[in-house]
Every structure is written in C-alpha cells, then in structure tokens.
C-alpha cells in the first residue's frame, strides 16, 4: 500500500469518526444533496464517462502505433534489400549501379529515421495515456470505496434509527441482549427442570413397565407359535 493511499484511508476514517461524533445526520448530507441526489455518484458517473473516452483515445493511439510500427518494419526490410543489392552490384564490379542504389538508400534511411521518430513519439504518447488511465482507474476505485464507507455508516445509522423507533413502539426490551439472555436462561432452566421431572417419572415406572412388557411379549410369542403350528397342520 502506498503512503498516499494510507493517508487517504486514514483521512476518510478520520472524517467519518469526526462526523459521527459531531452530527450523525451530516453523514447523509455528505453523500446526498438537498434534493436527495447522491453527489458522489454523479462525480463517479462523470469520472466513468471520462475514463471511457480515455480508453477510446488509447485504442486510437494503439491503432496509430501499430500502423506506424508496420511501416517502420517494411522500410527496414527495404533498406536491408537495398544493402543486399549494393553488395551484389559491388561483387559484379557495377559501381555505377552500386552508387545509384546507395543514393536511393540514403533517402530510404532518412525516411526510416523520420518514421522511427514518429513511432517513438507514438509509443511515448501511448505510455503516457496508459499511465493516466491507470491512475484515473485507481482514483475512481478509491473514490467508490470511500463513498461506500461513508454510505454504509450512514445507512447503518439510519437502519438503527428505524429499528429502535420500531422497538420503542413495541418492546424496547427486545433490543437488550442481557435481558434476552436472561429470558433464554429462564426458559432453559424450566426445560431442564421439566426433563428432570420426566426422567424421574420414567425411572419410577421402569420396573412395572418392564414386567408388564415382558408378560405382553411372552403372550404374543405363545399366540404366534400357535398360529405357526395351525398353518403347518392345515397345509398337510
């Protein structure tokens, strides 16, 4: 994180804390004008439009740069070709042709140097535009983050006002966590007591229930066995 960003971050928090302590309503006013329009949102919209035109400018500059780069490449190959032709003419002892070609090459090299200069300036311009766009992008993000911080603080304060107003009309005790905890504990305690009572009752009944249950089970087995015997006899 850069020093600038650190300072900017502290700055917005300092401002938020100052406004919270002085006058909480001012927070809303910091992001809304008298007609309820969001001031910073307008600024952000304008910044976004500017960024978009900057991106168009960059794409134009990129097109010019690549056009110029292609031209320079072509001229370089023409220079190389001329050089080969001069070497060939010299090897054939055709000094007149070699001289003519060399004269043409001077002109070609001059054109190449001029075009390379233009390409360099395109590259510099493009670099400058890109850095400007990146800076604008960073500033926009930072502005959006800061507005979100102020807006969130204001929204939560408003929400709290809405909630407390609503509970003052109904039951303000609902907003006290300690009272809620006491209520939860009372309920839990009465549930625990109920469980203890239920357990005690179950334990008291246990022997009776077991004996009764055993009798019922053995009666059922006897009946089932009689059914099985009857079924087999009937089959035969």
């Amino acid at each position: 994180m850069s020093g600038d960003k650190k300072r900017a971050g502290m700055n917005i928090l300092d401002k938020i804390i100052q406004v919270i302590r002085d006058d909480s309503r001012a927070l809303s006013e910091a992001v809304m004008d008298s007609t309820g329009n969001k001031i910073y949102e307008k600024q952000i919209e304008v910044a976004k439009v500017n960024l978009s035109s900057a991106k168009h400018a960059i794409s134009d500059a990129l097109a010019k740069e690549s056009q110029c780069s292609r031209k320079v490449k072509l001229m370089k190959s023409q220079v190389d070709e001329h050089e080969q032709r001069i070497i060939k003419a010299l090897s054939q002892n055709d000094e007149i042709l070699a001289f003519d070609l060399a004269t043409e090459m001077v002109e070609l090299e001059q054109d190449l140097a001029a075009e390379a200069g233009i390409l360099k300036s395109h590259e510099l311009h493009l670099g400058h535009l890109t850095r400007q766009m990146e800076n604008a992008e960073r500033s926009l993000k930072e502005l959006e983050r800061q507005v979100a911080m102020v807006q969130t603080t204001a929204d939560i304060q408003k929400a709290t006002e809405v909630i407390t107003k609503n509970f003052n009309q109904a039951d303000s005790k609902m907003l006290s966590a300690k009272r809620s905890l006491e209520r939860i504990r009372r309920k839990q305690q009465s549930l625990d007591e109920q469980y203890e009572v239920d357990d005690a009752m179950v334990n008291e009944r246990k022997p009776v229930l077991t004996e009764k249950h055993q009798n019922e089970v053995s009666e059922q087995v006897t009946e089932d066995a009689a059914d099985v015997l009857k079924r087999i006899i009937d089959k035969e």
């Binding site: 909480s24 929204d155 006002e161 809405v162 809620s180």
Partner: protein, 135 residues
C-alpha cells in the same frame, strides 16, 4: 436480491438442523428485515443492504447498561476476542454495541442463513462472557 426477496426465501427455508425463520420487514428510510430463528432461543437479527454489502446485526447493549468501573476492561476484552469469533465482529452504532456480520451483496441465501445462525450462536457466547461488565 433485495430484503423482500430475502424475506420470502428465508421464510420458506429450513436448514439441515431443522431451523426455520420468522421474518418481519421494518419499513423506514432504510429497508430492514428482522429475522428470528424458530427452534433456537436467541436474538433477533436485523438485516439491511447497502451498495456493496448485506449487513446482519444483533444489538447487544447500550452505553447506559455498561458498568462504568469495568468499561475499559470490557472494551479490551472485545478487542482481544473479536478475531476469534467466527464470521462476526463488534461495532458501535450511536450508543449501541452490536455484533455484526457483513457479506457481499451478491451472496446467495445459504450464506445469509449461515450468517444468521452463527451470529446468534456467537451472540449467546458474547453476552454470557461479558454479562459481568453490564449492570
């Protein structure tokens, strides 16, 4: 998803633990949804949505409820324990101390449900741990 959508979806939702939710919309300058968990004795959770976040809040106590002689101790304990509490943090809104969780505005319902349940469990722990600091 706005608070109305959350209210409808939460009211119809049942978690794997069998929790269902009672939702009540509170209208005002800002839309707030009050959510209570059926089958769990806890605290009402208030959900509100800002530009980038969904914020779920449980109101803990006010400045008036704090024992003046133990206030600094309480604040230190809040700072010391804040990072240990899953998905929730402390804050103060006006004179009210709150426990809150913030989610991305694009969060799905299951994340909000997770937040509401965990915020409640956290709040029970927090209030139990700090009740000695309160009047």
């Amino acid at each position: 998803m706005n608070t109305e959508d959350f209210a409808i979806k939460l009211s119809q939702h049942r978690t794997t633990e069998g929790f269902t939710f009672d939702c009540q919309r509170i209208t005002g300058e800002v839309e707030v949804l009050q959510v209570e968990i059926n089958g769990f004795d806890g605290f009402p959770v208030f959900i509100t949505q800002t530009q980038f976040q969904i914020i779920c809040i449980i109101y803990l106590w006010t400045e008036d409820e704090i024992r003046a002689d133990r206030r600094t101790e309480m604040l230190e304990m809040m700072l010391d324990t804040s990072i240990s509490i899953p998905l929730s943090s402390y804050a103060r809104v006006g004179d009210r101390y709150v426990l809150f969780g913030a989610l991305s505005v694009s969060s799905e319902l299951d994340k909000v449900v997770e937040e509401v349940v965990m915020l409640n469990e956290n709040a029970v722990d927090v209030v139990s741990a700090m009740e000695d600091f309160l009047k």
